[in-house]
Amino acid sequence: MLVIENVSKQYGNFQALNSIQLEFQNGIYGLLAPNGAGKTTLIKMIATLMFPTKGEILYNGTNIVALDDKYRDVLGYLPQHFGYYKNYSPEKYLFYLAALKGLDKSTAKQRINELLTLVGLEDVTRKKMKKFSGGMIQRVGIAQEMLNDPKVLILDEPTAGLDPKERARFRKILTSLARDRIIILSTHIVSDVESIANQIIMIKEKKVLYQDTVAHISNQLKGMLFETEVSLAEEDQFRDNYQIIGERQEQEKLIFRFVAEQRLEEAWQEVIPTLEDVFLHVYEDDQTLAGSMK
């Protein structure tokens, strides 16, 4: 079990995270927040690339700093920008990293073959990576983080640069890996985690806002989410009165998906909220973020 115990991180005068309290058992956790919310800081602290200003991170009851290489032995990490040596083939790079991870040659060989097949790169194992597409590189990244059969798998924005087909493939791979390990997936793309995560973690104003299942988080907007048709003449007033989550145009009318405390008009149709609705609702007014939506 991995526990984030009252962790805060400060860079000079800037508070990046404040009193973060989280617990992880085996399964997939989606760390969902807009850019600038502190996801990467949290991820880097779990990966021992940064250290908390306050609090501690415990793996099976022991501080990961004290565990040092023993913790890194059970850790797999895919950074936001996966670095590689351009003149290396995936096989050569994976052999190099397998050695650094302490795997002996024969185990590494077998593992590399399995993983390159799992990520669909079995036909290009000896091709130089400089010729690879972004999606192929990302698949090498997924393979490398699985080399040591880690118990804690951390992925920072893993689907950046992947096309929809590759994203679907990636989700499938993750689901197959999730049975006996903790997988923490940081993303700002709701669809990456909506269908596969056992729990979603949302961070707002430097603190954990939710750690719950998709269904429970989505229910936060139950009875408060509606759709209705609005004429172009009424558009501005409607926008001023309600928080618009989504909109589309149909002929001369606009169809708004919006949040309201209660149903005020017959024409309003209550809709079932999704995780994306909650995400947009929660972060709509967050001015502290680098990529604020307003």
Binding site: M1, A47, T48, L49, M50, F51, N60, G61, T62, V65, A66, L67, D68, D69, K70, R72, D73, L75, Y77, P79, H81, F82, G83, Y84, Y85, Y96, L97, A99, L100, K101, G102, D104, Q144, N148
Partner: protein
Amino acid sequence: MQNSNKKIPYPEEIEIDQEISTILTEGMDSRANFWSFLLTMYRQLGFRIIFRDFTEIIYTIILSIVVVTGLLMSLGDLLIWNDWNVYTIIFTFSPVTYLLFAYFFFIFQKQKPTYEVEMVCKYNLYQLAAFRMLTFSIVSMLVNSVFIIGLMMDQSIHFGYAFLLSSSSLFLFAVILLYVQLYVFSRLVKLLLAIGWLLGNILASIFSEGLYLIILQQIPLYIYGMIVIGSFVVYLKGLKKLLFASQRERMS
């Protein structure tokens, strides 16, 4: 007798694992000592992993030999070789090969795209760097010895004295550079240190020739021996810090 009736709840599997893990973590230093750790690491990783950039390093050795030879020759043209004390040259230029290695191949560079992937491995960049730096210092010592032998063909030099002088210079510089590398990550500072060492020695030997030569030549052989040993010990201490300090200590 009453106590024997007391029931002590048997701990759960996860509690037993936690206790064992805590006892092992607290009670055992699995990393043993400096030399055995390096040996184990070498056996597990092998030369090709630790020196994955071996070809570039070989180019650098060749380049460094060309640069040092060129520098010595051009200095000879500019400053009249015979006016220069050969021991001044040995002391000033002995760290050049090491400097080139350390500057280009320290490998612990946060800017490297592979930095994060390599840092979360069991053997991370700190440990690789420690092994490499030790090897670089020994190779530099050998390269310097070859230079001294080369100089002996043209100049009358006492090899033992020249070797100790060269090694003192090498390890004094290596210690300073290693601590700069550990605590100041800027490449500019390293470059300034290198320029400072070379210029400082050259200027000191020109403008304060008498004093400089007294310091260099009047110091007895055994003192140089002690300087070599002392600076090598401090150097090893720095490498040990790279090798064994926890990630947090090294990054703080």
